[in-house]
Structures are given as C-alpha cells and as structure tokens.
C-alpha cells in the first residue's frame, strides 16, 4: 500500500523523459555491494480498515482512567480541553504546513506564533519569548546554556525542587561539557533559600521551579536577589496555569523563565509531543535559542510577520549558533494559543483557582483519614505530599478501583520513603475527591 499517484504508464513516460530504461537505473549511483537485495523484514502492509482495527486493539490494551479519577500530576496535568481546540488544531492548513520560511505565504502560522509569544510574555512577565521549544526539560537546559554563555561561568546551581526529569536532561548535556552542577536539596517541600547564598558564588545561574515539583510555592524574589548579588542569573521553570494566580517570574526579578505548555490544552499523549517555552528579559534576546517571530511591514507599509533574528540560528551561524535547534513545536504551541485565547484572563484564573481549591480540599479530607498524614505545611498550588503506609501497595489497590493515584516519591526523593505526590485539577470534582478519599481509607486499612 502507498499514497503514490504515478500509474505504470505515467512512470514509463517519465522514465523516457529522464532518458533511462528503468527505476533501477535511477539508483545506479548506489554501489552494488551495498544495495539491499531482499525485501525489508518488516510486517506486511495493512489496508486502512485492518490498520485501524489493529491500532484500536493496541489502544484498547492501554488503560485510560476517568478524568475525575486521575490524581497523578508530577509534570503532566490532566486539564479539560475545550472542543474548539481540537477542531481548529486539526485543520490541514495548520497540520501540513512547514516552518514559515516564506513569510508571505505563511502569515497564518507566523501570526499564531506571534500571539503565542505575546501571551507567554504576559504570563511570565518577561519581555521576549521564542516560538516554543521541544518541551519544558529541554527549554530549561537551553536556559542554563544561555546563562553559561552569558556569564562565562561553568557552575550551575539547581534546586532539588526542580522536576527530576528536567534535572536529568540538564545533567546529560552539562556533564559532558565539564560544568559543575550543584543540587540544593528541598527540605519539607520547599527550597531553603538561605542555603543558596554559598552555592551561588561563581555560579552561572540559580535554577528554581515554581510551583516546584512537590507543588510548593518558592520564594522566587529572594532567590533572584541572591543570584544577582553573586553575579548569577535567576532562572525559573514555571507552570503556565499557575501563573494566572502567582506572581510572574518577571515580577520576581528572574532573568529567564521557561516551562512546559502541556497544561494549556495539550493532551498528555504519554509524555509528548508537548510544547516548551522560553522567555527572557530583552537584553538576552540575541542569546536566545530557537525561532522567533517578529512584526514588520511589507513593501506597502502594511503590517506583517516574519521569522526574525535568524543570525542566532544554526542555518546561518552553523558552529557559532546559540543552539542546534532547527524546529519549534508550532502545532502544539497552536493548541496552547487557542486554549489561552478561548479561556481569556478570567477563564484561566478560574481554572487555576479551582485547582487550588480542589487540591486543598483533598489535603484537608486526607488529613482526617486514619493512617494518612499530611506531613509538611508549605504553601502549594495543585500538588502536595501525603504520607501513607505501604505506598506502592496502596497505589496498586487504588488502581484496581479505577483511580490513578499519586506518584510514589521514594525512588527519586530518598528521604521521602512513604510519601506520595498527589494532584488535583478542575477535572476532579468534590464527589470524585470524596470517592478517592473513601477508596484510600479502605486501601490503607
């Protein structure tokens, strides 16, 4: 099976126009010794009907949990996606376009990215944003690279409250480049600011996450002061939904803000594709990685949009580029753009408020369950830590009852042995919370 339109008669005519006798002749430049002389050993073709059945049966072997019964967050968030997002996202014009190199024929793509950049700036309180990045983890890695370049220092201070997956991505790259990475452990749910002072000496940056991986709200402004006093940059990885309520990184004196756009109307997709974002104070714009869309005018003075500041990028700068990235996540950023424009300031604030409301409701109700403790008192957005007997076994029991419980923290956070990280979003109603609390009470008995 294939999507080829050439009939055998077409192909014969075309070969004639080329002046060769057969398709094999077109491959004559491949040395004979390396031509593949057998069919590929991959499964046989399936017609569309059978293909759909096959994939449906594979999909059926995955378990989807009812939206209200998912209490797992930890970097992927189960938010409601308005129907308008899917409807507009699936237009073929957006799906099957490529990078808007030809600006005049790509005003649609360029404008929706420009709107994305604007809203990322508004949420983060930053001056400039790029057209999006692979994901939140690689966006953070690039922000650290910006700081290392800018300060010409090779020491990176990173809070233990940063998503462990993101820390792993930063480490993969920088351990090869000989940078020193200092992790400052979180204590009882937040990063102890005082301990950062010493670590910040000679550092390129201090990296925080807000709300942090454990849901805790960090003292970003104080951290920025410590960073700046030491000549380091202040970098924050942030949740864009939380920014409807929380002080922005810009207000907290941060130099660079990054994050994951998944909570903004992007399905969880088992971890990708999502859309990272990178925003910064304007003095860092020429060190930023990735595509940036700018406003300009056409030959008649009319407003238009174009990719800009490309002199930073690999296709111009080659080995001197600010990054090797040659893409963004335009289609995923489009989802975030449609989502944010649909919700508006009031709608996004409402989502954030309900997240706060429900997570605090769950925490309060769990505190009353025999055997369950809420061990640390720290301000949190929509995730918090609960302590349970036999967490692994308890989570398995909850799963049997149709609940996707929290994340057992012990494998990564060694001092949190009996602790799980729980999350609520607007999808968990009070009734869902009551059902979950009852199931948990049963499970820990």
């Amino acid at each position: 099976m294939d999507y080829i339109q050439n009939t055998p008669a077409d192909a014969a005519d075309m070969l004639k126009s080329i002046g060769v006798g057969s398709i094999d002749d077109l491959f004559a430049s491949i040395p004979e010794g390396v031509r593949l002389q057998r069919p590929l050993e991959i499964p046989p073709a399936l017609p569309e009907q059978d293909l759909l059945s096959h994939l449906q049966s594979l999909a059926a072997r995955n378990r989807t949990f009812d939206a209200g019964r998912c209490f797992l967050g930890a970097g992927a968030y189960n938010h409601f996606v308005p129907a308008v997002v899917d409807a507009l996202f699936s237009r073929g014009e957006f799906l099957s376009a490529y990078t808007p190199y030809q600006a005049e024929a790509s005003q649609g793509t360029l404008q929706h990215i420009f709107e994305f950049q604007t809203m990322i700036c508004e949420l983060t309180g930053m001056d400039v944003a790029n057209a999006s990045h692979y994901d939140g983890g690689t966006a953070l890695e690039e922000a650290v690279a910006m700081a290392v370049d800018h300060t010409e220092r090779r020491k990176v201070v990173i809070s233990g409250g940063v998503n462990p997956q993101y820390r792993a991505v930063v480490k993969s790259l920088f351990k090869h480049l000989g940078a020193t990475i200092i992790e400052v452990a979180q204590v009882r749910g937040t990063t102890p600011v005082a301990t950062l002072k010493e670590a910040a000496q000679d550092a390129a940056c201090i990296v925080m996450q807000n709300p942090n991986f454990l849901g805790g709200i960090e003292e970003l402004a104080a951290v920025s002061e410590i960073a700046h006093a030491a000549g380091a940059l202040s970098i924050a990885s942030v949740n864009p939904v939380a920014l409807a309520l929380l002080k922005s990184p810009g207000e907290c004196g941060c130099d660079i803000a990054v994050g994951e756009g998944q909570p903004l109307g992007i399905e969880m997709n088992f971890g990708g594709p999502w859309a990272g974002f990178i925003a910064a104070k304007k003095e860092f714009i020429r060190g930023m990685p990735g595509r940036i869309v700018g406003e300009t005018v056409d030959a008649e003075g009319k407003r238009g949009f174009t990719l800009t500041l490309q002199a930073r990028e690999q296709h111009i700068r080659r080995e001197k580029a600010s990054s090797n990235i040659c893409t963004n996540q335009a289609l995923m950023a489009l989802r975030a753009t449609i989502y944010l424009e649909t919700l508006g300031p009031g709608g996004l604030r409402r989502v954030a408020e309900v997240c706060v409301q429900r997570s605090h409701e769950l925490a309060a109700k769990l505190a009353k369950v025999q055997g369950v403790k809420i061990p640390f008192q720290y301000p949190f957005f929509h995730e918090f830590i609960a302590e349970l007997p036999h967490p692994a076994q308890t989570l398995a029991r909850l799963q049997e009852k149709g609940f996707l419980g929290g994340l057992h923290l012990q494998p990564v956070f060694r001092d949190l042995r009996d602790h799980v990280l729980l999350c609520c979003t607007e999808r968990n109603s009070s009734a869902d919370i009551d059902a979950f609390v009852a199931a948990l009470a049963e499970a820990v008995k």
Binding site: V128, S248, V297, K302, T327
Partner: protein, 483 residues
C-alpha cells in the same frame, strides 16, 4: 488582519468553568498574599465564534501540503495521511499519563518496541532509541554516544568532528553543543566528499564524521564505503544525518554502508505532520557497541509484556523529559504498517522518479548544479539568470507564490550560489510536476521580459514582500496592545 488582542472586548470571554461549589474558599485564604500576582496577564477576551473565525482566517493565510505543492528541498513535504491523525487522537493513546504504571500501557509500549525494531531494520542497525524530540536532538544524542565511546576507550583527545561543507547547519551547531570542534571537509567537482581533503583532515584528534547520505545536493555518496573505512581507520566513528532517508529506504541501509549511528526524521521519511514547524521526532539508530550509552529508559520485552528499563549504568542519561514525542511514534508506526516492505521501497523509488522527472523538465533552461541523475532532490544554480537579468533566486521563489506553488528551499546548500533545492516527494502526480515546471519556466521568461514583476513579487499574497531587515534591527516580538 487584526491580532486577537485587537479583537479583545472586555467581558466577552467564553463562559468556561462554573464555581467550585458552595464551600469554595477565597484563594487569598489558601495561599500567601506575597505569592499572588496583582495584575492579571493580558490575555484577550473574545467569544468562541470569534476564535473560530480568527483561526479559520489564519488558516487561509497559510500554504500547506493539503493546499499546495510544497517542494521544499530536504524537508520531504509528502502527503500526511488522515488515518494517522485519527489514530494518534484515540483516547487510548492521547489520554495516557506518562507516569502511568507499565501494566496499564502495554499497547503503547508494544508500538514503541515494534517501531524501534522496524526502524532498526530499515537502517540496517542493531538498536534504536525513540527519545530524541527532533532531528537536531537526534544528532546531539548521537554525538554524545560517540563521546561516551571514546571516553570509555580513554580517547579523550578526540575532540574534532569532520563535517562536509554541504551539510545542514544543525551538524556543526550540534558538534559545538557536544563540546566538539568542527572541521569542514570540501566537496569535489562531482558533489561528493573530496577524499584527499578528508584524508588530510583525519588524525588522532578525530572523534568522528557527520555525513548526510544522500547528501543535501540530492546525490548518493558514491565513495561512502571508502569514506567510512578511512574514518574508522583513523579511530573515528561515522554519524549519518538521516534527513534524506526517503530516497533510499528499502534500497540501501546505512548500517550496510559503514555508518555507526544515525537519526531518522519521522516527520520527513514517515510523514508525521510538520505542523508549521514542529513537532518533529528524531529516533537514533546505532550499532550494538554503542547500545550501553543510549538514553534511558530502554524498552524491554519479557515474555509477552513490555517494560521500561532504567538500569543502564553507562547511559548518557535523558535527552528529553519522559519518553519522546509519542504521538509522532504512533503516526510513524501507522504509516510503516500501512506501507509494509513493498510500500516503503516504492516510496523511495517514486520519490527518486519524481525528482529526476522534474529535473528533466527544468534542465533544458536551468543550470543543474551537479548535472547527473539525482536521488530524491536536486539543486538548481540560478547564477546565470541572476547575472543576466538581475533577478535572483529569492525573486523567483517569491514569484512562484503567485502561481500558487510553495517555493523550493533557497540559498541552501551554501556551496551553490543562488541555489534552489527541489524535492517533489513520491506523493505528487505528474500533472502537478508539469504545472510546477511550466510555472518556473514562465518565471524564467518573465525575468527577461518583465524583471520588475519578478523582483517585486509576490503580488497575490495577503502581504507584499516583507521588510526583514527592519524586523531584525528593531525587533518587535510581541504585541503591545494587550493587557
């Protein structure tokens, strides 16, 4: 047209979410006041209908494969089948949380495991990781594997990566990002790698070489075996940029011609949608000896079940949060299963047939940079026209828009002046190729008879030619009328 911010009207947001319930407490009673923002972010306030019209109008201002022939060289803009989108959106895939227990995602792990094996077979390699998010991230992953290999063998002095002068800019940028120095290797008169120049640049400092094969000139590297042998003899490894795999899938395999490690671009060869510039997906395939360094987790099959394996002590670690761009893996898996071995091979054959046919139509009037049979793409050199008429490649590209065609890639590869790099792909029909050639030939006439018309093109787009210098000099990268 207006931006959404200029359409904003206070109080007009779509009603979205009801109150949390009678027990709702004010946020200020749950979070410290010092943590809360006082000024709301400047998001627009518009109705759902306004949103639908806004994005529908934007879509009308966007060239796409669904709407236009899009022969963008090196990008493989082939048809994106609709079934792929339908399958990727199935709730049993799209709604999965990445940290769900393994026993609840067996169907998806099977897809990933099977896709790894199919890609390994197509590449002639032993193992694959799906984790890299795009081609450039695949390159980074590949170079980190090479680096780990040399470190393990106490070859830390190997700090140079050889890269042909025709390569994509990502190759040297990736070398820098991986802590390597780029050494450029010249192309010879036939468009291949200059063997003498290569020999002179190989040394005990060579960590490896990055090769694109077929090259960005659309040519198969005829000396590939000799090149790989030279690099290996010098102690280096050979990385292949798999951007152009569409030309050779099912006909030749990188693992059989001396490549140690390579990436695929699923959005090119296996038709996952380009999406206006991403998401991509850049799986890396390599030989067995590099497997210990692959990113974690690996997917293992035990009996009939699948699991993630994080226990790889020599691994480079993670290159992306979670497991990769899964939605793209599902589409690529679907695409390969639809095609089967015959279909995959036919894709290469008709991609090469279409490119050579289009070249045969154009070569009578245009200078083909390397006039011999091409693979999936070819490069035209418009220097003669530019000299004669003052009409440059950029002008011709813009004028193509008036004929409703997306222009080819221009000014790349860098070694061809006034380059126009044309890749029609296998999914186009002959009538379209004829019409495109006719348009380009007509523009060549216009360059002589009415050069102004070409130099001021496009004339039929929503905007005229844009002032890119102004955009870069006084960057405005956000709208200021919101908030």
């Amino acid at each position: 047209m207006k931006t959404i911010f200029e359409k904003s009207h206070p109080g007009r947001s779509t009603a979205y979410l009801a109150a949390a319930g009678p027990d709702e407490k004010p946020v200020a009673s749950l979070l410290p006041a010092s943590a809360l923002r006082t000024k709301p972010p400047g998001l627009p306030e518009v109705s759902e209908l306004e949103i639908v019209r806004h994005f529908t109008e934007l879509s009308h201002r966007t060239f796409s494969i669904d709407g236009n022939f899009y022969p963008l060289g090196s990008c493989t803009m082939k048809y994106n089948p609709k079934i792929n989108e339908k399958i990727a959106a199935l709730p049993g895939f799209a709604k999965l949380h990445p940290l769900q227990p393994e026993d609840t995602v067996q169907g998806l792990l099977e897809i990933m495991w099977s896709l790894e094996r199919m890609l390994a077979e197509i590449a002639g390699m032993d193992v694959v990781t799906l984790q890299p998010a795009a081609g450039a991230q695949g390159e980074l992953t590949g170079l980190l594997l090479i680096r780990s290999h040399h470190q393990e063998n106490k070859q830390d002095q190997r700090k140079e990566i050889l890269i042909p002068d025709s390569a994509h800019g990502t190759n040297p940028a990736t070398a820098t990002l991986s802590g390597y120095k780029t050494i450029s290797v010249k192309s010879d008169a036939r468009g291949g790698i200059d063997l003498e120049d290569l020999k002179s640049k190989l040394s005990e400092r060579t960590a490896g070489m990055m090769i694109t094969n077929p090259s960005t000139l659309g040519l198969f590297e005829e000396n590939i075996q000799a090149i790989a042998e030279l690099v290996h003899k010098a102690g280096g490894l050979v990385y292949m940029d798999g951007a152009n795999m569409n030309a050779i899938q099912g006909r030749a395999r990188p693992g059989d011609f001396g490549i140690d490690v390579m990436h695929f671009n699923l959005h090119k060869t296996f038709s996952t949608p380009h999406g206006g510039g991403g998401p991509g997906s850049g799986p890396v395939a390599c030989k067995k000896f590099l497997e210990p360094y692959l990113p974690v987790p690996r997917i293992q099959k035990e009996g009939a079940s699948f699991k993630f394996d994080f226990g790889q002590p020599k691994s480079i670690g993670k290159v992306k949060a979670f497991w990769g761009n899964i939605g793209m893996h599902i589409r690529a898996y679907t695409y390969i299963r639809f095609h089967g071995p015959e279909g995959v091979r036919r894709n290469a054959e008709h991609a090469v047939l279409n490119a050579n046919y289009l070249m045969s139509l154009l070569k009578k009037r245009f200078k083909v940079a390397y006039p011999r049979l091409c693979m999936h793409e070819f490069v035209i050199d418009n220097t003669p026209y530019a000299k004669k008429t003052g009409v440059r490649t950029l002008d011709m590209a813009k004028r193509l828009l008036d004929y409703n065609f997306h222009p080819p890639t221009i000014y790349f590869p860098l070694i061809v002046h006034e380059a126009m790099m044309i890749e029609p792909t296998e999914t186009e029909n002959r009538e379209t190729l004829d019409a495109f050639a006719a348009a380009l030939l007509k523009i060549a006439d216009e360059a002589k008879t009415d050069p102004e018309k070409v130099k001021t093109a496009p004339h039929t787009m929503p905007v005229k030619r844009l002032n890119e210098v102004k955009a870069a000099k006084e960057p405005i990268v956000r709208c200021y009328t919101c908030g």
